[in-house]
Amino acid sequence: MTTYLFSFVFPFLLATALLQSLAALSGRNLRGWGPALAFGLIGAGIVLFPVDGLPLARWLISLNANFSIPLTAVLFSKLVDSLFRIRLLDDKALLTCWIFSLTASAVLYPMALGLTRLDPYAAGWGFSWLFVLMFSLTMVLLAMKNRFAVVLIAAMMAFNLRLLESTNLWDYSVDPLLVVVSCIGLGCHVRRKARGMREAQGVRRE
């Protein structure tokens, strides 16, 4: 039951974020508790709206039943930032998230899809080197005061509570949509950095 209820969280956040983005695009930059409540209620209505006997959220789950915790956290952070101007995940945490997910996916997907003999996905079913690696990474990030550590802790908590349909730790840590978001996020980060460097060089020339 908990897994079923949690499956509505990502679609709900997505619907609410899309509504907020649409409002922002139309020139209405609505912020605060009132708009948040309104977007939330409409978002809940959308994801619960039955189409052909299935709530809309479950149609999304039909395509991907395991939206990872980092992806959910990034979406939640973006939504909170848009509605309340509170950055739960700062640039450093987001950059860590992009690098983490791209590295994890580069290891996981080609191997799990059969391009190599090893299958790292098998390490996610129960205690293994993957858990030790995740723990070590979390500790290092906590020591560096990187907020992405909290996301990894949340992923571990979700795994222990079996909040996703999957019982494999990999699915709590990374998913194909997060990889796409990370590519875009990292691309934007690199572009921002490059623009910043160009501007700095321009200032020095002047």
Binding site: Y4, D52, G53, L54, R58, W59, I61, S62, L63, N64, A65, N66, L108, Y109, A112, L113, G114, L115, R117, D119, Y121, A122, W125, G126, F127, F131, M134, F135, T138, M139, L142, I153, M156, M157, F159, N160, L164, E165, S166, T167, N168, L169, W170, D171, V174, D175, P176
Partner: protein, 379 residues
């Protein structure tokens, strides 16, 4: 401290439960002594003629008191949206006939039970477990063809009259697709099963789905491990030779068009490199079981190019050499495929297979018949 606790919890579970050990293979519970000496073979159809439709991928298992149950899929064509999984039971006794096929799963019921969109259903595998529970692992597809397959499980505690709500098994990190089932599971000493499965997406390779069940706990625990099969072997038929020893026979997608085989000596944890056997394989399913004297019986399509001939062969040296003992079916332009065998407690061998995609055929024979065939075919 809380963080350490969070990460320590899976380690504690790993140490405190038997999950880390899948168990060893359980030997076939056959009682060879009651096998009659008189050669016996009997052929019958399980499913009625489909007319313009198709039936495919049959599996059979033994219920309590000598009854049998079978499952397969059928519809207007392979991969059609109207494909359903059918169930039929028989017995006890030779005179009994197969019950009228009952629909167990279709795309609408699967969609309702799994709470998601299901475009079509596919391969089912039926097997019985501890406590008389009947298990059905089956394929569903939400998007695309067979490479979009996911596996689901449902069970029945009343010999197939009613079934539990289906449960989705997450077995792949990439949208949980490209996992299929076809072959007979092996019982494990830990009350679980080793279910041979296979992956077909970018590459084709065989895997094992390890299912752990409790006698009273309805919850199931599962994990998956890869078998060595290169990129051209799939649909493993696994024969347990001992608690830790087993041999797997593979359907081949290679240019060599021969059956592949690999062995394990550590209860499926690792597998040897697949070796090509001398028997052909036209990229079609096959099945093997162990006879009471440790010989291996194989049902296969005896051609590198088509599924027109279904034969039986026996090996006394773990698959190195084979003796063809019988041609069960042979007709030009027809298909006799996807054999699936079990040996029941009375020592009889039950073989089910797709008969020209029109019907599911059931052939019963005993080891005395196999001996008679060997004597008749050997020089």
């Amino acid at each position: 401290m809380a963080t350490i606790g969070l990460y320590a919890w899976p380690a504690y579970q790993w140490v405190s439960t038997d999950n880390r050990d899948s168990g060893t293979f359980v030997a076939d519970p056959v009682q060879a002594s009651i096998t009659p000496d008189v050669p016996l073979i009997h052929k019958e159809f399980i499913s009625p003629d489909t007319g313009n439709g198709i039936v495919h991928v049959a599996s059979i298992c033994e219920l309590s008191q000598g009854r049998l149950a079978a499952a397969w899929y059928g519809g207007t064509r392979e991969g059609a949206r109207d494909v359903s999984i059918f169930f039929s039971a028989k017995g006890p006794g030779d005179a009994a006939s197969w019950s009228r096929p009952a629909k167990v799963v279709d795309r609408m019921s699967a969609s309702k039970e799994l709470c998601r969109y299901i475009k079509k259903v596919g391969n089912p595998v039926l097997f019985s477990g501890p406590g008389g529970r009947l298990w059905l692992v089956y394929v569903t597809i939400a998007v695309g063809g067979w490479s979009g397959s996911s596996l689901n499980v449902t069970w029945s505690d009343d010999s197939g009259n009613t079934w539990s709500k289906s449960r989705r098994l997450t077995l792949s990190p990439f949208f949980n697709v490209s996992e299929l089932v076809r072959n007979r599971p092996l019982p494990l000493s830990s009350n679980g099963f080793a279910v041979p499965i296979y992956h077909e997406c970018l590459e084709y390779f065989p895997e094992i789905l390890w299912i752990q069940t409790g006698l009273t706990d309805p919850d199931i625990h599962f994990k998956k491990s890869r078998m060595t099969g290169g990129k051209s072997f799939m649909q493993p038929s696994v024969v347990a030779l001992g608690p830790s020893e087993a041999i797997a026979f593979y359907r081949s997608r290679s240019h060599e068009k021969t059956i592949g085989a690999a062995v394990t000596t550590d209860a499926g944890a690792t597998w040897s490199e697949p070796e090509a056997l001398s028997l052909p394989n036209p990229d079609a399913g096959l099945d093997a079981i162990l006879l009471s004297d440790q010989r291996i019986l194989l049902a296969f399509n005896d051609s590198p190019v088509n599924r027109e001939t279904l034969s039986l062969a026996v090996s006394h040296d773990r698959g190195v050499h084979w003796t063809r003992i019988a041609i069960l079916e042979s007709a030009t332009g027809r298909e006799f495929s996807y054999p699936y065998m079990i040996r029941t407690r009375d020592g009889r061998i039950h073989l089910v297979y797709t008969w020209d995609r029109k019907r599911i055929k059931h052939v019963i024979f005993n080891e005395a018949w196999i001996e008679a065939q060997i004597k008749g075919t050997m020089p």
